[in-house]
């Protein structure tokens, strides 16, 4: 009964119900790390407070507003708004409130600048959708109260800065009126609203800022129409482009009268350039237009006379204007040269003179400068100094001052698309990753420092250096593979198209690489990264090769644009090669085969349903040919509610024919009735999951065989009405159907309907079970259900002999028409929180019991033992069942605070949870990512195969010493006694 004893062995490990993951407060940071990010900065406002800490308030594309320390770039406070609550504008009012306009201009909030507490919130409605503007004038005052001017949804509001009260409002209801600018001329009580109507009409409204009264309305028509944005060159002049993009219109509305002048671009620049666009900027007197290759800066002189001041082919970024004195405005300009950037600060009216000219060395992996924000400070000699905040192509944020990078933030990591892992190199002489090994001098210096430390001669800086060295050289952050498999590289792909390698020990960035293949080019207009795959994982015969990852990307948002593959070495962070494909990438199927150099075979399905094999080598092809008939996959068509199964047919025919292209055939399809069911979730097992035991011994010495198939697919559909938000549907007209489908045969193995339930569904599939989370409308609570599927055809094999000789699922006939004998068991429980993500722990051999990792709405990750989701739970388990470890059935799943793996931290904006097995069977590595990153190690059944961190070696030593002493004492005693005996 070897098997049975083995089960008992497992049960022994998994017999405690108490929270398995638990942490003492002083253990925080030993195994885990947490990093906070904000995302790509959209807008930055510098706080102009004289006293106190210098700070900058930013809004980002991840819907974060944050206050950053201008000295170090740390976050003072940060708020993540809802997913639909996109930030339109931010500003600082009265020097102490951060004002944010979000949700398409319909929510205005005010936050306390020092601590980020929300002060008030106003909702702004309006007649129609429009651009939104937030303006904080400094001169408009209503008895001590500052006014905020907001234009949103076709309505102009004046709002009190102190409590968010709407003081007056004015509608712009004209159907076709499209607002382009809202202008507050300094020193007057007027508001100018300018815009276009009916595409060719220029409209100007003059409004009294005190009470919202319409003072003047002028319009003028331009037969050639307008295109794109307008640029404001003074408070009474705007520049626009006509609909062809070749004529510049300078429109001024001095004293309420509209006058205009047309200047063809070809008059200014000799060679024709094709259609241009205006770069939005607020520098007075100067504007910029950009064509495909050239950026042109144009100055406006007097009433509409234009003059080209500079023409450049370099990539360029311009900041908004910063007024440094009554009548002087400065702005920053950044130009790229090969490996550095040139920063110039100029006065608006004086193009040729530079206030500042600096060159800063810039890491090429940061790409181009996307945005510039300028701020000034007064130097000790009372002259102006300038600092600029720049946002790079890789979404990082840098502060430049005095020709140096003061600090930088890797905010690209706030938008991770995909994650994979890579092993570190084996410890050997001369093997290391990137620039970790240091030279002899540094080695000597390190030892000298350590010596100083031991002799108590070290200064505080030295101590800090020693501490950081110790951290670096300590076991957990070494750059080599460890025995337990805790040290790995996390390779992450961000939305900016940059790859980062993070060390699991301390979360530092080992290397980063901005993918060249994801650069904009002629052939590839808007490339986006899609997925990461492990391309080459050398272990047996290709030990000397470095592992590499495959990055699959696509040239545009739609799925039929052509794909791009890049291969990146995970040790060096260099791109090995990249391939521009002539076909699209709709689906990538990593096959379970590797070629002689351990390169994994991948099948790419294109939009025409051809399958392409990669790598394109003859070795791979011969392996593939051998397994030709064993390759099946499925595709889900969300819109039509169809799931199809596919297999390979033959070599490609037609003009695209090459050796590595194959035609496919449809095997089966499952069509869900579109009037009653809409697919909302599909989940399969993880490809690399290991299952240790196929059988499960139940209490009465019975054996149940798990139905373990790689080809099981879980599908959840809901009533089309119920696919919206919670509360949009009544329980009677909503239902949720869960399916288990075999993806080779297309057979539906199980189907269950939950009446009165709706999505969103979060599900995870592992071994022979699936757990899914949904909303129960009747109870108005979230529910989690488990389905376990067992193989009934082998149920007779009750003992070892029968197991060996008896019926096996290999001997049973495999046919499309034979119905697999399976039984399912399921159970449902209430669960308190909404979920954002769900995952399951995975270990090296699959022996350790499993835990579900639930990413809750509060951005925490909760570990829940799978035994709480065991369909065999009953209200009163028998003695036998209790011994087996079955927990009495309760209505809802318990939430034990100690089992939050993120303990008192939040993974703000949580999007995904990834689990990776360590080499040590008991341990799994967990990486949770959203706007923040969090990493920890989990031991779902405690670390039964190694000593825990808090194991007391001292006690062990004391015990041994005590025992040895006892042996000697007793030996002496017995000797003496023996002697006495003999004398007697």
């Amino acid at each position: 009964m070897a098997i049975r004893s083995f089960f008992l062995f497992i049960l022994f490990f998994s017999s405690s119900i108490s929270p398995v993951f638990s942490l003492y407060e002083d253990q925080v940071g030993l195994m885990d790390w947490h990093q906070q990010y904000i995302g790509k900065v959209k807008q930055a406002v510098f706080s102009s407070q004289r006293a106190g800490r210098k700070r900058v308030v930013v809004s980002t594309e991840e819907n974060v507003i944050a206050s950053l320390d201008l000295r170090h770039g740390e976050i003072f406070w940060r708020h993540l708004l809802g997913a639909d609550d996109v930030i339109d504008g931010i500003d600082i009012g009265l020097g102490k409130y951060v004002i944010t306009l979000s949700s398409g201009g319909s929510i205005l909030r005010s936050w306390n600048l020092p601590d980020g507490q929300m002060v008030w919130e106003s909702s702004l409605q309006g007649p129609k959708h429009s651009k939104s503007f937030l303006l904080v004038p400094t001169n408009l005052k209503f008895d001590k109260d500052n006014l905020l001017v907001v234009f949103s949804n076709g309505r102009l509001h004046a709002i009190s800065c102190i409590d968010g009260e709407v003081l007056w409002k004015k509608d712009f209801e004209a159907e076709s009126f499209e607002v382009q600018q809202v202008i507050l001329p300094p020193g007057s009580d007027l508001i100018h609203v300018v815009g276009f109507a009916a595409l060719s009409q220029f409209e100007m409204y003059q409004i009294n800022a005190k009470n919202g009264e319409l003072l003047k309305h002028e319009s003028a028509s331009f037969s050639s129409g307008f295109s794109g944005q307008v640029s404001l060159v003074s408070t009474e002049t705007v520049v626009a482009l006509d609909s062809t993009g070749s004529i510049l219109l300078t429109i001024s509305f001095q004293d309420g009268k509209i006058s205009s002048q047309q200047t063809p671009i070809s008059n200014l620049v000799e060679d024709s350039l094709g259609p241009a666009v205006i770069i939005p900027s607020s520098v007075s007197g100067i504007f910029a237009i950009k064509t495909d290759a050239v950026t042109i800066f144009i100055r406006v002189i007097g009433k509409g006379n234009l003059e080209v001041v500079e023409k450049t082919t370099h990539e360029i970024a311009v900041s908004d204007a910063l007024s440094i004195s009554e009548d002087q405005q400065a702005f920053a300009l950044i130009q790229h040269a090969s490996s550095e950037i040139h920063l110039t600060v100029k006065l608006a009216h004086d193009w040729d003179g530079n206030l500042l000219k600096e060159s800063v060395k810039m890491d090429r992996q940061r790409g181009l400068v996307h945005k510039v924000f300028i701020n000034n400070y007064i130097r000790t000699d009372r002259s102006y100094g300038f600092r600029v905040l720049i946002v790079m192509e890789d979404h990082s944020l840098l502060l430049l001052q005095q020709g140096e990078i003061v600090w930088s933030r890797e905010d690209g990591l706030a938008s991770i698309i995909d994650v994979t892992t890579s092993e570190l190199p084996v410890e050997r002489d001369g093997v290391s990753v990137a620039k970790v090994e240091h030279n002899l001098f540094e080695w000597l210096k390190g030892h000298m420092l350590k010596l100083k430390g031991t002799l108590m001669l070290a200064s505080p800086e030295d101590m800090a250096a020693i501490q950081s060295m110790r951290l670096k050289s300590s076991e957990k952050s070494k750059m080599t593979r460890d025995h337990n498999g805790f040290r790995k590289l996390l390779i992450v792909l961000t939305r900016a198209g940059k790859l980062f390698a993070l060390h699991t020990g301390d979360g530092r960035i080992v290397w980063s690489y901005l993918l060249r293949s994801l650069h904009k080019s002629e052939a590839c207009q808007s490339p986006i990264g899609l997925n990461l795959y492990q391309w080459q994982v050398p272990h047996h015969h290709a030990m000397d090769e470095n592992p590499s990852v495959l990055v699959v990307s696509r040239c545009g948002p739609s799925s039929d644009t052509s794909g791009v593959l890049s291969f990146v070495d995970t040790y060096t962070g260099k791109e090995l090669s990249s391939l521009s494909l002539d076909h699209a990438v709709v689906q990538v199927i990593p096959l379970p085969y590797t070629d002689s150099t351990e390169q994994r075979l991948h099948l790419l399905i294109d939009a025409d349903k051809h399958a392409h094999l990669y790598p394109k080598t003859s070795g791979a092809l011969s392996i593939f040919k051998r397994e030709f008939s064993n390759i099946y996959w499925y595709s889900v068509e969300d819109q039509n509610g169809i799931i199809k199964g596919h297999a390979l047919k033959c070599k490609c025919t037609g003009e695209v024919a090459d050796e590595f292209c194959f035609d496919t055939r449809d095997l089966w399809s499952v069509v869900f009735p579109s009037e009653s069911e809409k697919t909302i979730a599909t989940v399969t097992r993880k490809l690399n999951e290991v299952v240790h035991t196929q059988a499960k011994v139940v209490a009465d010495q019975d054996v149940m065989y798990k139905y373990i198939s790689r080809n099981l697919l879980f599908v959840a559909t809901v009533a089309p009405k119920g696919s919206g938000e919670i509360g949009s549907v009544t329980p009677e007209e909503s239902w949720l159907v869960a399916y288990l489908i075999d993806t080779v045969t297309g057979r539906i193995l199980h189907r269950v309907t939950h009446h009165g339930s709706q999505g969103p569904v979060h599900a995870v599939f592992s071994e022979n079970w699936v757990v899914y989370h949904y909303f129960n409308l009747r109870a108005h609570r979230y529910e989690m259900s488990v389905i376990e599927i067992y193989d009934q055809s082998r149920a007779d094999n009750k003992d070892v002999w029968k197991l060996v000789l008896g019926k096996h699922n290999l001997t049973s006939p495999i046919s499309l028409f034979s119905r697999p004998e399976v039984i399912t068991k399921s159970q449902s429980y209430f669960f308190t929180h909404s979920l954002k993500a769900i995952a399951v722990t995975s270990t090296a051999k699959g022996i350790t019991s499993k835990q579900l990792l639930l990413g809750t709405i509060g951005d925490q990750v909760l570990a829940l033992d799978k035994r709480f989701l065991d369909p065999r739970r009953t209200v009163n388990p028998t003695q036998l069942e209790k011994e087996e470890g079955i927990i009495p059935l309760t209505e809802s799943l318990p939430i034990i605070p100690q089992s939050y793996v993120t303990h008192a931290l939040r993974v703000e904006g949580l999007r995904g949870i990834i689990t990776v097995p360590a080499k040590l069977e008991s341990t799994t590595l967990v990486f949770a990512h959203g706007v923040d990153l969090f990493f920890t190690q989990l031991a779902p059944s405690r670390t039964y195969d190694s000593l825990t961190e808090d194991f007391s070696y001292a006690l062990l030593l004391i015990t041994i010493v005590a025992l040895v002493a006892a042996i000697f004492v007793t030996w002496r005693l017995s000797e003496r006694k023996e002697l006495q005996e003999k004398w007697r």
Binding site: V119, W120, S123, E725, I726, G727, H833, S834, Y900, A904
Partner: protein, 254 residues
């Protein structure tokens, strides 16, 4: 921490025990009064409109928990999160042990699993605007506290009628005041060092067992009657229990 009674926000200086019901008297938050709220002139009217608890005196009208938009299309729901970790707690009740880094500024109130996310004002109020009629779920995310989600029914037929109940224990709320059901301790408490814990540890048990064997066993053997001992030895020999010594080469000689 359960329900704690102090009403920090009470507009009237009513001594604590004279408050007639287990709800707090609160005014509609400042600053919302001009945002198209229907002006409710008397308590009676509010009672009729929303069929909610309305507790006020002739001097102050205190809003209960839902107010309605004048357009009757959309409802706004506002409530109050009872945050005892506020430093202004006059009674100092329940603030012990809540020295959390997170203040009210880090508390999020989430509608329908993320459809709308809002933050708390300094006084603990929150507000959801433009809520269509139907049944909604409000969740509060605050590190260190466990809040039950709240089911909020906004009536379509009878605008302004809002009912709320905690989903965890199905307790109806007469007023949308959200209180944490309990606080959450994320860390194990380290036991202070004690002799018992050392004795109970595997090492301690090992030492203990050894001591027993070394010091008590000989005593036990000594105290046995020599006769009895001989008899026992004889019995063992008769039964032929193969002793380890006899199996060893050379051991058979005895």
């Amino acid at each position: 921490m359960g329900r704690v009674a102090p009403h920090r926000e009470a507009p009237l200086k009513v001594p604590h025990k004279e408050v007639p019901l287990k709800v707090s008297h609160r005014e509609a938050p400042m600053g919302w009064k001009n945002q198209e709220l229907c002006t409710l002139s008397s308590c009676h009217q509010l009672w009729k409109l929303s069929n909610l608890g309305c507790y006020g005196t002739h001097r102050t009208v205190t809003f209960a928990r839902a107010s309605l938009n004048c357009t009757h299309d959309f409802i706004r729901v506002w409530g109050w999160v009872h945050h005892q970790w506020s430093s202004e707690d006059p009674q100092g009740l329940g603030t012990k042990g809540f020295a959390l880094p997170g203040k009210t500024s880090n508390v999020k109130v989430i509608l329908n699993g993320g459809q709308i996310v809002t933050y708390l004002r300094p006084d603990g109020y929150f507000l959801f605007q433009n809520i269509p009629a139907g049944t909604h779920l409000i969740e509060v995310a605050a590190i260190g506290y466990f809040f039950s989600p709240v089911r909020v029914d906004v009536s379509a037929r009878n605008p302004g009628k809002v009912q709320a109940a905690l989903t965890e224990n199905r307790r109806g709320l007469s007023e949308l005041v959200l209180e944490p059901l309990r606080d959450e301790q994320y860390y194990e408490i380290r036991e202070p060092f004690s002799i018992m814990s050392v004795v109970k540890s595997p090492m301690g048990l090992m030492v203990g067992f050894m001591l027993v064997v070394v010091f008590l066993m000989p005593k036990l053997v000594e105290n046995m009657d020599p006769e009895e001992m001989r008899r026992a030895q004889e019995e063992m020999r008769n039964q032929g229990v193969p002793s380890l010594a006899s199996l060893l080469p050379g051991g058979g000689r005895n």
